[in-house]
């Protein structure tokens, strides 16, 4: 995953309630509730980072090592791509 991660902003609507991010696919109507590291990852997908940069920034945010969070982050990014919510990766 070397290209810049970009949200497909035309494919979803989102809002934040009490710190939780709610995202809805406009194609399927499916809701996603993002909290904790998922919400932080979602916030870091801002069109300026590739996967490696995102992982580094996420690890710094949670004061941990990229190697410790890589597998979970990778799986989450893939699920966002499969849901059509982001491009790149």
């Amino acid at each position: 995953m070397s290209s810049v991660l970009v949200k497909n902003s035309a494919a979803f609507s989102e809002t934040t309630i009490d710190g939780e991010v709610v995202v809805m696919s406009l194609d399927t109507g499916t809701f996603y509730s993002l909290t904790g590291s998922a919400a932080a990852t979602w916030a870091l997908i801002d069109g300026t980072r590739d996967y490696t940069a995102l992982l580094d920034d996420l690890a710094a945010h949670f004061k941990t090592s990229p190697s410790l969070i890589g597998a979970d982050t990778d799986a989450f990014i893939k699920s966002l791509v499969e849901a059509g919510l982001i491009a790149g990766g």
Binding site: S13, T15, I17, G19, E20, V21, V22, L26, G29, F31
Partner: protein
């Protein structure tokens, strides 16, 4: 029909649009026959055909046409027209239906939501005995266009209670509802609201062994607005723009205080559960200034 700008206009629009006459109703919309018991919606029209033979057609600007079968039960007609048909009309006129009963206090609306049988009507009837004005029973209509305030329209249905609820709440029972139900109309002990008011609180009634009242937080606030009651299916059919639908639900989720009231369904604990609901209302933060 354009959506009303103010809640007073919305109320007047609903009064106009729900006028009805007898007449013939097509078997379906757009050439498709309606299945009895199912509704159809297309191009500003709403159609319902019932297994008993009643047919209802709403057309924007023309009100409701009711096809009346031989021997049709007037009480059944009223239940359909004031229930599913009314909800369809509300949705087509830009209103949001919530499956809830509500009371008014201090110029604000406090609603209680839950599935059928959760005790919504019984609770608002009991709150009426404690002096709170009935705002609506079973269906709450919300008017909240754009950045405007979240306003609720006063209910159009009479309060209906099961026989044991009439007794338990101390309400004054009136005529039987009929139409195959075992409910009775009941007087609103402290009167009923007639004007739109701000909707400030939505409490979800749940069943559990221990009584507690606690806030609903985060995405759960959003998810609870998209429940599986038939009113939401009608609303989503009338609002095919998912982005607009999302924005509206997000506004409601952020603008209304949501709470869970968990209590045992137990006659001996009923008064305590009414006390809990009343305390929630009386202690509600940010009450409107006099």
């Amino acid at each position: 029909m354009s959506p009303p700008h103010s809640s007073m206009e919305a109320l007047a629009q609903m009064e106009r649009e729900t006028r009805w006459n007898r007449g013939s109703v097509p078997i379906g919309l757009d050439g498709t026959a309606a299945t009895p018991g199912r509704w159809q919606m297309a191009a500003g029209r709403f159609l319902l055909r019932c297994e008993s033979g009643f047919g209802f057609l709403y057309e924007a600007g023309r009100g409701i046409t009711v096809e009346w079968p031989d021997g049709g039960d007037p009480q059944e007609e009223q239940l359909w027209r004031c229930g599913t048909v009314h909800t369809g009309i509300a949705c087509l006129n830009g209103l949001v239906p919530i499956h809830a009963s509500a009371v008014e206090h201090d110029g604000q609306v406090f609603a209680f939501a839950g599935p059928s049988g959760a005790g919504k009507s019984t609770l608002v009837a009991a709150l009426g005995q404690r002096g709170l004005t009935l705002f609506c029973d079973d269906t709450l209509l919300v008017h909240s266009p754009g950045d405007g305030p979240i306003m609720a329209l006063p209910g159009h249905k009479r309060l209906k209670l099961l026989e044991d609820a009439v007794e338990m709440t101390g309400a004054v029972g009136e005529a039987a509802v009929g139409a195959g139900t075992n409910k009775r109309f009941a007087a609103a002990a402290a009167g009923a609201s007639t004007q739109p008011l701000p909707l400030v609180s939505l409490t979800f009634l749940e069943t559990g062994p221990d009584m507690r009242c606690e806030p609903v937080r985060g995405a759960d606030r959003f998810a609870r607005l998209a429940d599986d009651h038939y009113t939401q299916a009608i609303f989503e059919a009338a609002q095919p723009d998912r982005s607009a639908l999302f924005a509206l639900r997000a506004k409601l989720a952020q603008g209304i205080v949501m709470t869970r009231l968990v209590r045992p369904i137990n006659r001996s604990r009923f008064a305590s559960s009414v006390d809990a609901a009343l305390n929630h209302i009386l202690r509600f933060p940010g009450r409107k200034a006099a």
